[in-house]
């Protein structure tokens, strides 16, 4: 059984102009001790997916229409609030894209980190020694993320930190929890590549030492290549391709993935491609059938009719595109 399995998930948002049909039948899974990458278009629903899994989606305006989120075979969407709290305490945690949203502006970084450490541990004493040990662990967690001057940062409030520093606080918070599944939503976008590298190595160690699984969402194909074994490509609310990371990057099959790979700026310096033609879909009235069809150079009549299922394409590689129907 997979550690996490999302089945046919449909989620949307009610907005002034109508109903945004965002997640459109998402199917994906994460195995035990697996590092999985998720790359997708700006606004295709990646953060919505993570929030649904962790049950932190604001409902309303969001609405979960149907689908299942199975953790060890148990549907998170049907759990009681108490079970959900237990799940978040011991089983899974997320690094959110917007760190300001994740941190409480009223408390110092130190207070927040200490609370989390205490909370995630089974039994902690109240003695001075344990207090001091907890503080020391917080500081070392911050130092692990390449935070300058961690002792000083402990007494700072979130607004006193730069964007990259806040992001590192959230990473420290997530890494100091002893969980089985870490959902990392663009954890390193605001950081320089040396610190990014340092943090990704830390994440990697975590998986090795604790046997945890990681989902990493990013726009950087290089990051998923470095860190993950398996990769999902998402477009307009559903997964369009998955397979071993190196395989997908070396020979992308879906026309969207092919367009993405052509758009990646290369160190070889051959210039920047034009990007994928056409515009991102309107989620109020999304295209019928394959949502990519209006932008696809290979679109056929069948593409307009029904969303393509996943077709196998060898070596665990699967692709949701009628070109691979055979």
């Amino acid at each position: 059984m997979a550690l996490l399995e999302v089945v046919d998930l449909h989620v949307g948002y009610r907005v002034f102009e109508g109903y945004l049909k965002v997640l459109n039948g998402v199917n994906f899974e994460i195995e035990e001790q697996e590092r999985v990458g998720l790359v997708g278009e700006t606004g295709c629903g990646k953060t919505t997916l993570v929030k649904t899994i962790l049950r932190v989606l604001p409902v309303p305006p969001a609405r979960i229409q149907r689908g299942q989120v199975l953790y060890h075979g148990k549907d998170i969407l049907l759990m009681s609030p108490r079970e959900v709290r237990g799940l978040r305490r011991r089983e899974m945690t997320a690094i959110f894209q917007d760190p300001l949203q994740a941190l409480n502006p009223m408390f110092t970084i130190g207070t927040q980190l200490r609370d989390i450490l205490k909370d995630s541990q089974e039994r902690v004493g109240r003695g001075q020694r344990t207090q001091r040990a907890i503080t020391a662990r917080c500081i070392s967690a911050l130092r692990d993320t390449g935070m300058p001057d961690p002792e000083r940062i402990m007494s700072n409030y979130p607004i006193q930190l730069s964007g990259g520093m806040r992001q590192r606080v959230c990473i420290a918070e997530a890494l100091s929890r002893n969980v089985r599944l870490l959902l990392a939503d663009e954890p390193t976008t605001n950081l320089d590549v040396t610190i990014q590298d340092q943090i990704l190595r830390k994440l990697d160690q975590l998986v090795d030492q604790r046997g945890a699984s990681v989902l990493i969402i990013t726009h950087s194909m290089g990051v998923v290549r470095d860190l993950t074994q398996r990769l999902y490509i998402m477009y307009a609310g559903s997964m369009v391709e998955t397979g071993r990371t190196k395989g997908v990057l070396a020979s992308p099959l879906h026309p969207y993935t092919q367009g993405l790979m052509r758009s990646v700026p290369r160190l070889t310096g051959q210039g920047i491609s034009d990007g994928i033609p056409g515009r991102i879909p309107n989620y109020l009235q999304p295209p019928s059938g394959c949502r990519f069809h209006p932008r696809c150079a290979h679109a056929m009549p069948v593409c307009v009719e029904a969303p393509p299922p996943f077709y196998p394409a060898g070596d665990n590689h699967r692709v949701a595109c009628y070109l691979y129907r055979s």
Partner: protein, 340 residues
Amino acid sequence: MPGDILSVDNLRKHFPTKEGVVRAVDGVSFSIAPGETFGLVGESGSGKTTTAQCIIGMYPPTSGDIWFKGERINAAFDRRPKHVKGDLRIVFQDPGSSLNPKRTIKQILSVPLQVHRIGSRRGRLARMKALLDMVELPADEYLYKHPQAIGGGERQMVALARALATNPSLVLLDEPTSALDVSVQAKIINLLIRLQKELDLTYLFITHDLSLMRNIATRVAIMYLGKLCEIAPTAEFFESPVHPYTRMLLSSIPVVSDEEEALKPRKVLSTGEIPSPVNVPPGCGFQSRCPEAADVCRRVDPEMVEVSRSHQVRCHRERRPDRAGHAEASVLHEREERLC
């Protein structure tokens, strides 16, 4: 240098705070020639945004000078002459928060036109349509939309249209595409390149994406702890980096093919304490993480020296007598490794 569009001379910006003085920008000098795309890359929190904010006038510098087209423009934004304000514009990373969600795109674009008294009422509408057209958004569809109703990439195009409203010659771009997927990024970059040619624009481009810089920058400058540590023309920068931090940066670029992997210097792992701009250590700012730090590095802050006419580096290794031929040798040895 005469002929430069922008010249920053020993710029310092210090912020007094309760915890001490933050030396966000601490003696930065560079100049940009017309038509360039000058890439500013560096450590998170090294002062790149603060440098841009000083240039645009959001803060007056603590010391140092900013020259724009031969005119000294140290004053804060409100006190700058109007022609400078219109000629020098900025686009921020997060278009979500830099566009007012309560306004329509038409209202957003009309602000700079009104402030700079560009066109009559009728002329302004035509100008706004032309601006949207310039950034490849269909005007009829977009003029009356609100920022939340459009995608992240499109918001960034609106922010760019707003910056271009006053016909600037220098545009500061602070991580304009780092929140976007690579396909949308490619569109915006192509748009920037086309507009640069059509409108004779000069760019100061701040980013963490060195692969992107490889493809679009004319020169690259690296910033660390409030100071520049290396400036070089793009090709030379990637082929023969000299500063240890630059090498660490280049060796950490996540790439997507073995071909690119081979172009990177040998891996330099990032270790050591990250210094804070409140407690700037004596000596070189990079010494706590530098694999090549010597005694002198812990005592004396190195000066910027020329490796070649257009390539400058701030590192003691450059000064050491054993250094002659060292750069050459290490480049050769890396080239050999690449051939393996």
